[in-house]
């Protein structure tokens, strides 16, 4: 009786020991796995840091090169001397300025889009010139009349444009078009001084905002022209 | 043609006098700032016309550009200063 009890107790003890061993082995395995994973993550982070650093350096170099090229063209236009000495001087000056101020001219520019943006901006200018001409006729007619029929007011409207450059384009266009001057932009809200309620309603219609959104490819507007431009770009890339 | 340029220049000077009225009698300093900006713009064109009359336009174009630039910078700095000053 006692012997059987002893044998059972021993077997129990061995089983418990076995369980404990397997448990410990499992814990050890998971620990090793965790450590390996941690190591892998650290390695990955290191590699990614190298890559992003390289990318940032590359972006900085692209900014520098673009700024230097534009400034050099500007210098040549200003200088008017085309001998080697002056061109070298211009190259040095452009590189000097671009080295210190490479972050001023280009911010958040997606390189692939810039051709489309520039092309659309050039096509926007004639319309803007026409609007300025109308605006000046408007001011002239207003001023030359003996009794000036104006009813000034400040109106506000919320814009859907997001980036700085598109907001600046819209604000300056508003200032240059008939009867309106941009006074303030606060958190995406334009404060506009309008000479009469007619021009104010024209502004609420939002034609100009649509045009500017079309230039910088913002907002929820998808145009046929967008699709055509995209297909043209992909064709030139050979995709 | 030179007579025509001279006439335009004299007319511009008269317009500058008109702007100077606003600079002198403007009710607040902001009106004066707007008048000064307008005078600067007209001076730009007057300088170019002087250049044409003297036959040295390539010289006066640089001066005119500097004038436009300093006008812009002055305007921005003045606006910033007035904004900081609070109520007028």
């Amino acid at each position: 009786m006692e012997v059987t009890l002893l044998i059972e107790a021993t077997e129990n003890a061995f089983r418990i020991l076995e369980e404990a061993r397997s448990h410990a082995a499992g814990i050890m395995d998971t620990t090793i796995e965790l450590m390996a994973e941690e190591h892998r993550i650290i390695e990955e982070k290191k590699v990614r840091a190298i890559f992003t650093g390289a990318r940032r350096r590359r972006a900085r170099f692209q900014n520098f090169a673009g700024t230097a090229c534009i400034l050099f063209v500007f210098w040549v236009l200003l200088s008017g001397h085309f001998d080697l000495f002056h061109l070298t001087l211009g190259g040095l000056c452009a590189a000097f300025v671009a080295y210190f101020f490479h972050d001023l001219l280009f911010v958040n520019v997606r390189v692939g889009d810039i051709r489309t943006v520039v092309w659309r901006f050039i096509r926007y200018i004639p319309w803007l010139l026409g609007q300025i001409l109308i605006a000046n006729m408007h001011v002239a007619a207003l001023v030359l009349r003996p009794k000036m029929p104006i009813r000034p007011r400040i109106i506000t409207f919320k814009t859907k444009l997001e980036t700085d450059i598109s907001r600046v384009t819209l604000a300056n266009s508003i200032t240059l078009t008939p009867g309106t001057v941009t006074i303030d932009i606060r958190e995406g809200e334009f404060y506009v001084h309008a000479l009469s309620h007619l021009v104010a309603e024209e502004l609420y219609g939002g034609e100009m905002e649509d045009r500017v959104a079309h230039i910088f490819m913002e907002g929820d507007h998808l145009y046929v022209q967008d699709v055509l431009d995209a297909s043209r770009i992909y064709e030139t890339l050979g995709v | 043609m030179n007579t025509f340029f001279l006439l335009i220049g004299i007319g511009m000077c008269v317009l500058v006098l008109g702007c100077l009225f606003r600079v002198t009698y403007g009710p607040t300093i902001l009106n004066r700032a707007a008048g000064i900006s307008a005078v600067g713009t007209k001076t730009l064109v007057i300088l170019m016309i002087i250049g044409v009359l003297h036959g040295r336009i390539e010289m006066f174009v640089d001066i005119s550009m500097v004038y436009a630039l300093l006008n812009f910078v002055g305007c921005i700095v003045l606006a910033k200063y007035l904004e900081r000053a609070g109520d007028i």
């Binding site: 500007f74 001023l104 450059i165 303030d184 | 630039l69």
Partner: protein, 147 residues
């Protein structure tokens, strides 16, 4: 203390005009012997560029390129260039700022040496004027700060 301007229009336009203003100032300095301008005018234009940068982007941004100490050093260097070229002519046996004497040193003929000498003096004057204008501006508008 000059804060960064919270006006997006002025900030963006000034940011994109700033490199062109600087390159224009450098053009005025370098072409002093063909067109109006020279050291003083070019220096003032360069200083106007820095004033524009300070007013729109805040003084912290400007301080990365042009702090009070840097401005002092640059003005001294400008004066040193000016006086050094003058004294070099004196050493080479001419009068003070007698550029023709530089032709022995630079191995070029007289007119080229004169033109190069004037260019060097103008660069010195421009550096001095720019730095001193920046110092004046900083002292007036950021007087409540100690550095």
């Amino acid at each position: 203390m000059i804060q960064k301007s919270d006006d997006v229009i002025v900030r963006t336009v000034a940011r994109s005009l700033m490199p062109f203003i600087l390159i224009y100032g450098l053009y005025v300095v370098m072409h002093g012997h063909y067109s109006p301008g020279g050291g003083f005018q070019g220096g003032v234009i360069l200083a106007a560029g820095f004033v524009l940068l300070t007013v729109t982007q805040g003084i912290e941004r400007t301080r990365q390129h042009m702090s009070q100490k840097t401005a002092c050093v640059i003005s001294s260097v400008g004066l040193l260039i000016y006086a050094g070229i003058g004294a070099l002519c004196l050493i080479l046996g001419g009068r003070y700022l007698d550029y023709g004497r530089l032709s022995q040193l630079l191995q070029v003929d007289q007119p080229t040496a004169r033109s190069l000498g004037i260019l060097g003096v103008e660069i010195g004057v421009a550096l001095g004027v720019m730095a001193v204008m920046c110092i004046i501006f900083f002292s007036i508008f950021a007087a409540d700060e100690t550095e």
